[in-house]
């Protein structure tokens, strides 16, 4: 119920935050706190020092241009869902609106979701489907990590201990038809299967298919087999069920006390098919 003792610093700049991270290897970045604090209260996490990054102006950026959408790491879900980004990337705002409840959405941040790397995070599917780039700062400078390399293991990212996430870049344009469908865990509300799907249909042909799945698998994944089965094929000739089936095989699934491996795979498959059907019908 009560975290172990810790220090707290509110950083004003990225440099200041990085300094703390460098000085204390047990320090951790604090964003919305909605994943970190519950773990600290259960004493499953016991950082010695929290660096609050939510007041760093740079981390609250929201920018749109013809070739990129930039979302600062500390942008809160609620801010994002009401922003004009819905016009260019409805997928992102649709997904964000399905995260938890208003309280969580008013605290939780895009960067926190990325860095926490919960395998059922809704945004994971969006990051993977859009080939987002994670812009990371460290004393060694700035580097960009592609989404495909970001998720290393459940709750583990490619971020080094002294690095912090500054912003996420979504290359533009993305396919025009976009959707995020979620089958929520009835207890937690997290995704048991969340599917980010995008495609274009040009002269009856399916193009630029992007499908990513979160929640169902041990790790969020891109369903490339499904994408390959569909891309460049005439809409009239494809069977979405077959594609979804193939796509579901790209994931690895684990059983827990309530949700078997088979069930999770089935959900991934069903939700992918439904997302594709929805996009095709638009």
């Amino acid at each position: 119920m009560i975290p172990a003792p810790f220090r707290y610093t509110r950083a004003a700049t990225v440099d200041e935050a990085m300094q703390v991270l460098q000085q204390d290897s047990d320090a951790k970045v604090l964003a919305g706190g909605h994943s970190l604090l519950p773990m600290m209260k259960l004493r499953l996490a016991r950082p010695s020092h929290l660096v609050d990054v939510t007041r760093i102006p740079e981390l609250s950026t929201l920018k749109m241009s013809s070739d990129v959408v930039v979302v600062g790491a500390a942008v809160r879900y609620a801010v994002l869902s009401q922003s004009r980004i819905a016009e260019v990337m409805p997928l992102l705002t649709e997904a964000v609106r399905l995260i938890a409840d208003p309280q969580v959405r008013h605290r939780g941040t895009v960067g926190g979701s990325a860095a926490h790397a919960d395998p059922a995070s809704d945004l994971a599917a969006v990051f993977l489907a859009t080939d987002a780039l994670f812009v990371v700062a460290s004393p060694r400078g700035i580097r960009r990590i592609p989404a495909a390399e970001w998720y290393v293991a459940p709750m583990v990212t490619a971020l080094a201990g002294d690095e912090m996430l500054v912003r996420v870049e979504f290359p533009q344009p993305q396919p025009a038809r976009q959707t995020y469908l979620k089958f929520a865990h009835p207890a937690s509300g997290y995704a048991l299967a969340g599917v980010a799907a995008m495609l274009d249909i040009q002269e009856g042909m399916i193009q630029h298919v992007r499908l990513a799945v979160t929640g169902a698998g041990a790790m969020p994944f891109r369903a490339r087999s499904a994408e390959q089965l569909l891309a460049g094929r005439p809409l009239a000739a494809v069977r979405f069920e077959e594609a979804a089936d193939a796509g579901a095989k790209d994931g690895e699934y684990l059983s827990d006390a309530q949700y078997s491996e088979e069930y999770r795979r089935n959900l991934a498959c069903v939700m992918m098919r439904r997302a594709l059907e929805k996009l095709a019908a638009e």
């Binding site: 119920m1 009560i2 172990a4 003792p5 259960l42 004493r43 089958f183 009835p186 207890a187 937690s188 997290y190 006390a257 309530q258 949700y259 078997s260 088979e262 069930y263 089935n266 959900l267 069903v270």
Partner: protein
Amino acid sequence: MTQPVVGSRALRKEDVRLVSGRGQYTDDIQIPGMLFAVMLRSPHAHARIVHVDTSDALRMPGVVKIYTGQDLKAVLPPVPTAWIPPDSDLKMVEHPVLAYERVRYVGDGVAMVVADSREAAEDALEAIRVEYEPLPAVYDQRQAIGEDAPQLHEDAPNNVALHWTVGTETEDTFRTAEVVVRQSFRQQRLIPNPMEPRSAAAHYNPATGEMTVWVTSQNPHIHRVLMSGLLGIPEHKLRIVSTDVGGGFGSKIACYPDEVLVAVAARDLDRPVKWTESRSEHFLATTHGRDHVDEVELAGTKDGRVLAVRVKAYANMGAYLSTAGPGVPTILFGLIVNGAYDIPQASSDVYGIFTNTTPVDAYRGAGRPEATYLIERIMDSYAAAIGMDPVELRRKNLIRKDQFPYTNPFGLSYDSGDYHAALDRGLAMLDYEGIRREQAALRSQGKYIGVGFSTYVEMCGLGPSQVAGAVGFQGGLWESAMVRVHPGGKVTVFTGASPHGQGEETTFAQIVSGRLGIPLEDIEVVHGDTHRIAMGWGTYGSRTTAVGGGALALAAERVIAKAKAIAAHMLEIPDEAVQFDDGRFHPEGRDDRTVTFAEVALQAYLAWNLPSGVEPGLEASAFYDPTNFTYPFGTHIAVVSVDTETGEVRLLRYIAVDDCGPAINPMIVEGQIHGGIVQGVGQALYEGALYDEDAQLVTGSFLDYTMPKARFFPEIELDHTVTPSPHNPLGVKGVGETGTIASTPAVVNAVMDALAPLGIGDLSMPLTPPKVWAAIQAAKNLKGGQAS
């Protein structure tokens, strides 16, 4: 007053305080110098305690004292149970306040740290080193009575806590019946989760010897009885306060070790001490509900007449006997397994079994949901077996209006009812034929919807006391009320019932307002404080309005009788000639001369001119013992759809026609029914504690344990029939538990109805998406296999 106040939808008086954050819950108690306690709980389901080393923890900053089981076993008696069903061979095993030799479930208390702050106490908790020697553990009750099962208590061989049988002879009927249906039902274990976790705060005054304990209790006077014995503090020196309690659902009936420990520390350290459980602790260390396996048999004719029903029940008691635990699977369950049906023969054979799990006690409905579930489910199976419509079958077997009072095979006397009227009303709301047509049309498109019924009755309004004694409840079941009129004509009402969210500060004020003819705002209802209320038995078993309200009506009548005598004297007319209405006394048939209730009250206290023989003052109390239980009933109907691809069940419609007699406040009644239904549907579709091989709870938080949520529900469609109970002066029947009792089987019956064409006969609760999906897959494979 134009609108009668009894029967009106008056807004809840208590809500001003509760929804504006001004309630005073136990955890809100702040006393200068207060210390905080936290409990070290066993991480093992079963282990020998080899050694507890508190030396490091004691050196931590802010730590005042650490108590262990070894320290306390000589000075504190074990926690008792308060329900000893007769002829049940109940094994009253020792339940120490802190385990000293063996821990028997994950969450069993091992030590208590008392410190300056909660933070310091939690830090110190981590520094206590306990050496355990793990023992094999068992969480399933049928395994626990099997061969080679780990044994929990030396004086309970084979882990049998009790064995109790009741009912009529049934053997001949089963041997000769045309149809016998057998089915085994699993009542999964539920975790109550009221919004407010448990909490206790204690303050001891060594100068007066007075101990005050604020505690989250549904029955502070029962707490006083039990804690007085445990602490050795006489009742007149022991004050229990439970004024604002944020829900209980049965989990705050029990007297737990924690609250006793807090009081022990407060006395020992001469400092106030407070403890509040975390939600994680609640999952482990607050009593759970249900957890039965019920083997049921029904005997009937081919044309749908039920002849006999019998059940063999295996009830999980958990590791120790909780306060009311033994009464739940016996008295509250076994006596009503015939449900609302006229079944000539019935019997119950109940085993209560110890396992390495959290103790089980009452949970909303307590025993009656289990009974209702088995009869309502097996009625559907019987209907299927003889090819009869489930509604027709119910209609044929429901107790008829002209059979009341109806004596069931266990000797219970059902008070009053028109069960068929409630069924007909529900069917009309549903459009039964329309739904069946829609169902057939959808099935041809490969879509599955189902409709399920539950025509329930429950016994509640727990009382009278004679029955309490006969069934082994170690207390009375009457209730007290006192109506105190102040000189200015305003009223304070004291009740021995202990509402904790149900709204009786409003409904009780309505009862008094209706009788005394004074406005609701002039009436204050006091409850939950043993120093302000002489005695009472609390709130559970849907008894508060039937029994506590009955007491209140009597007390109010006594006040009126005295006020009438004073008014007659003031009006200079004989007592019999006084008429009292709308808060005014006047000569019968005339209202040119009147005295108001407030004028009479003032006269009663001035006492300048009272009739001879009348004492000053205006207050009256009543100790009311009802003549019998009450039996609310009704028809609940669920319509569901099943997504065969995901296994997800959706509630499309929910119809409830309930009869709880005349409603004092229909809005509050509806609120109780809504909440009850949601909780019952929670059992049907969502909730369920799961343990792993080592008897570790795997559903230990809201991440894994599914509470029902508002978004899972359609608008609930309600209606009522009104059949007064002859068993109490208000004619009311309990309504706090009906929703929970009725809804679980209605929803499961609906899901089974939806899945029937796939050949799926039964599924155990909760009907979660993966379970339903797996059943559909298995059925498909089976069909596929047969086809090839």
